[in-house]
């Protein structure tokens, strides 16, 4: 009986997926939603034969997943993977449904799953990851996720339900590290050595200044950004653990890439080739992408993948779907960077300030459910930083449902209000932004999630981009 129900549910879901594609809808969530209704627990049945790599955390899940994907590609492993817009139970179910045959079996054995941190606990009822990467915890849309500490507790509760899961954790994040302290799992830690990056700008530690266990203020041997760094609690001794994968030196950090030196704990390397120190070119700008890369390196070595392949993947990685996605428009460049919370946005601004070229900026702020309905967080972003680069900003656009709020934020950040232009229509915005640009200039689009989805429709038409579910 169960077999028939399973088969008919899979069949129906596959028809729906096909139908949605034909009418040019992504169809990433709906089939999974229906399948879960018709056949509760279906995910458990269809995912049980997979080796599952899961990535969660507030920021960097998508990029980290994509780098891991690139590493898997280098090794020729066949895998299935979901996309960021499909990182809740229904989307994840759809991803597995697409891969299995009518008996619920698949010819592919590896699944790379990005999962929303708020959905993690619920999904672990059906899926047990073999590897779980947790990138970091920062405050995020609080109207949707609730308080940061409840998200953290939920992820910990999800982990406690698993048996075989191996954790890969950011050792510089006191919130992340607590996940291992509160469980007895095997852990790989990654982080920055204290001397690796000495140019850290003073940034606000708004999320975790005080010890999670005894409420004493942490001291830091080094800070990278936000609350990330070499934390230690003078009260109870809770501190950053020793790392297995360590960035020992940030050699270069430019507008397009970074070069780092890093070491890997001997015990993690499959066959000792006589060295454990490496140099990597990371084909992504921004300090936060060094963390994402360290997470992906940790995942790669724990899968037993050779370092050559990992390094090649890092150097050749190309980003997509709003994560520093680059679109060439004749001799001009347009870059799309998703913004969703203060920590991520501040990192993007740091990156923009390091770019020495002239630039145009467009902020598209929406307040739909998926963006967070409260835009107060814009006031937690340090737009004041932009005044340092004001002479290189040759156009400043605001758009989206909350364009007016964004304009106001820029005014109070001290930017010239005469430069701020409000254009609600994305088509017009992109046209205007690309018009009469100087050579070598970059037009940055910084949308929130639903603004990105809408904006991409225009970009797709204009530049022939891939559908985002491909």
């Amino acid at each position: 009986m169960k077999g028939i129900k399973l088969t008919s549910t899979i069949l129906l879901s596959k028809i729906i997926i096909k139908g949605l594609r034909m009418i040019k809808r992504g169809g990433t969530s709906l089939p999974g939603k229906i399948a879960n209704k018709l056949c509760p627990g279906i995910l458990k049945d269809i995912a049980s034969n997979f080796y599952i790599i899961m990535v969660t955390g507030t920021n960097g899940k998508t990029t980290t997943s994509r780098i891991i994907e690139q590493i898997l590609k280098e090794t020729g492993t066949s895998y299935i993977a979901n996309r960021s817009g499909a990182n809740l139970l229904s989307g994840i179910t759809t991803t597995f449904l697409q891969s299995v045959n009518l008996h619920g079996r698949s010819s592919v054995s590896t699944a790379l799953i990005e999962i929303d941190e708020a959905a993690f606990k619920a999904v672990t009822v059906f899926l047990e990851p073999d590897i779980l990467v947790v990138t970091n915890f920062f405050r995020d849309q609080l109207d949707r996720y609730g308080e940061l500490y409840s998200t953290l507790k939920d992820v910990a509760a999800g982990i406690s339900k698993t048996r075989k899961t191996r954790l890969i954790l950011n050792a510089d994040d006191s919130l992340c590290v607590s996940l291992a302290r509160d469980s007895q799992k095997s852990v790989i830690y990654y982080g920055f050595a204290p001397e690796a990056y000495l140019d850290a700008k003073a940034s606000e530690n708004a999320d975790a200044s005080y010890c999670l266990y005894c409420q004493t203020k942490y001291t830091y041997t080094n800070k990278v950004y936000g609350h990330l760094g070499g934390f230690a609690c003078p009260g109870c001794g809770y501190r950053k653990p020793d790392c297995h994968v360590v960035c020992t030196q940030v050699e270069a950090i430019t507008g397009s890439h970074s070069v780092i030196r890093f070491t890997v704990d001997d015990g993690l390397l499959p066959s000792c080739d006589g060295r454990n120190a490496y140099t990597a070119k990371i084909n992504l700008p921004g300090l936060y992408n060094i963390y994402n890369s360290l997470a992906a390196i940790s995942c790669g070595v724990s899968l037993g993948i050779s370092m050559d392949k990992i390094l090649y993947a890092l150097a050749s990685f190309e980003n997509g779907f709003g994560r520093m996605e680059t679109i060439k428009a004749r001799d001009r460049e347009l870059k799309v960077i998703l913004v969703k919370n203060p920590a991520g946005f501040n990192q993007v601004l740091d990156y923009l300030v390091t770019d020495e070229q002239t630039m145009r900026l467009a902020f598209a702020i929406n307040d739909n459910l998926a963006d967070g309905t409260d835009v107060s967080w814009l006031w937690d972003v340090n737009f004041e930083k932009l005044s340092a680069a004001a002479e290189r900003i040759d156009g400043l656009f605001v758009s989206g449902i909350r364009a007016e709020d964004m304009a106001l934020r820029l005014k109070y950040a001290g930017l010239d209000t005469k430069k701020i232009e409000l254009i609600k229509d994305y088509g017009a915005l992109i046209e205007k932004g690309l018009s009469s640009m100087k050579e070598g200039e970059t037009f940055y689009l910084l949308p929130t999630y639903t603004a990105l989805l809408d904006m991409r429709k225009f970009l797709k038409k204009k530049f022939n981009l891939k559908e985002f579910w491909q």
Partner: protein
């Protein structure tokens, strides 16, 4: 040159939902008029000397952070804060900071957590969070015509009730306000202004911001009667756009 000093209480703990936007707004609007504003952070273990400050700002925090400061607030700073309030000092308290000024917070389990007891009001934890845009009107902003409506965003599980001697800050037009029952939002006692509204509250509501600035200035300087007008084109646009949306 006029000068004001703003004390930001527990900036490393009470800093939710863009609370610092309120400080940015006060500081800029003072600066644009040639008034210097110093911002002094005061946190756990620091002494709070009321006579040093003209405005005291207390923002919202997550439950975890509010727990950390509770003892320090009551035993280290409580008396000074109460005296400053009676002396007419300007206080701006948002969300969690608002609740902390009251007598107690009754948790869902029925346990009473003692708060500062500087104002005769109290908060009872409710089942559902009250989340969404909040529109209310303030009578004290009616003078001289103009818009006396305030737009913000609320997100709280606590229901706050006002006791004798405390007046609400405003009347709710859309949203929940203090408790979702009596139609009022926020609290006012002497020059203490409390609200559940984030947004941030002050940037989009320049009339309220200026009212607070002027009140603080008049506390310190006897010769100041009005503030010079500013170009509030962007402020009003953000204010009006949201009000239009919220009131449908």
């Amino acid at each position: 040159m006029y000068e004001l000093t703003l004390c930001h209480l527990y900036p490393d703990l009470l800093n939710l939902y863009g609370d610092r936007g309120n400080i940015i707004a006060l500081r800029r609007r003072a600066q644009w008029r040639g008034i210097r504003m110093h911002v002094v952070p005061v946190t756990l273990g620091d002494a709070f000397q009321a006579q040093n400050y003209n405005i005291v700002f207390l923002g919202g925090g997550q439950s975890y952070e509010q727990e950390i400061i509770q003892k320090d607030l009551i035993s280290q700073k409580g008396n000074e804060i109460k005296e400053a309030i009676e002396a007419g000092r300007v206080f701006i308290c948002i969300c969690g900071g608002y609740q902390l000024m009251g007598k107690f917070y009754r948790t869902a389990e029925g346990r009473d957590v003692q708060f500062l007891d500087a104002l005769n009001l109290w908060t009872v934890e409710g089942e559902d969070r009250m989340i969404g845009n909040l529109l209310f009107e303030c009578d004290f902003l009616k003078d001289g015509g103009g818009d006396h409506r305030i737009i913000g965003f609320e997100n709280h599980a606590g229901r706050t009730y006002l006791g004798k001697g405390i007046t609400p800050l405003g009347k709710v037009i859309a949203g929940f306000g203090n408790n979702g029952e009596d139609g009022f939002e926020g609290a006012r006692y002497k020059n203490v202004f409390c609200s559940y509204s984030h947004g941030s509250l002050l940037p989009k509501n320049p009339r309220l911001t200026d009212y607070l600035l002027l009140t603080a200035l008049q506390e310190k300087y006897k010769d100041i009667e009005t503030l010079s007008p500013l170009d509030d084109c962007l402020e009003n646009k953000a204010h009006d756009t949201m009000i239009k949306r919220v009131s449908g």
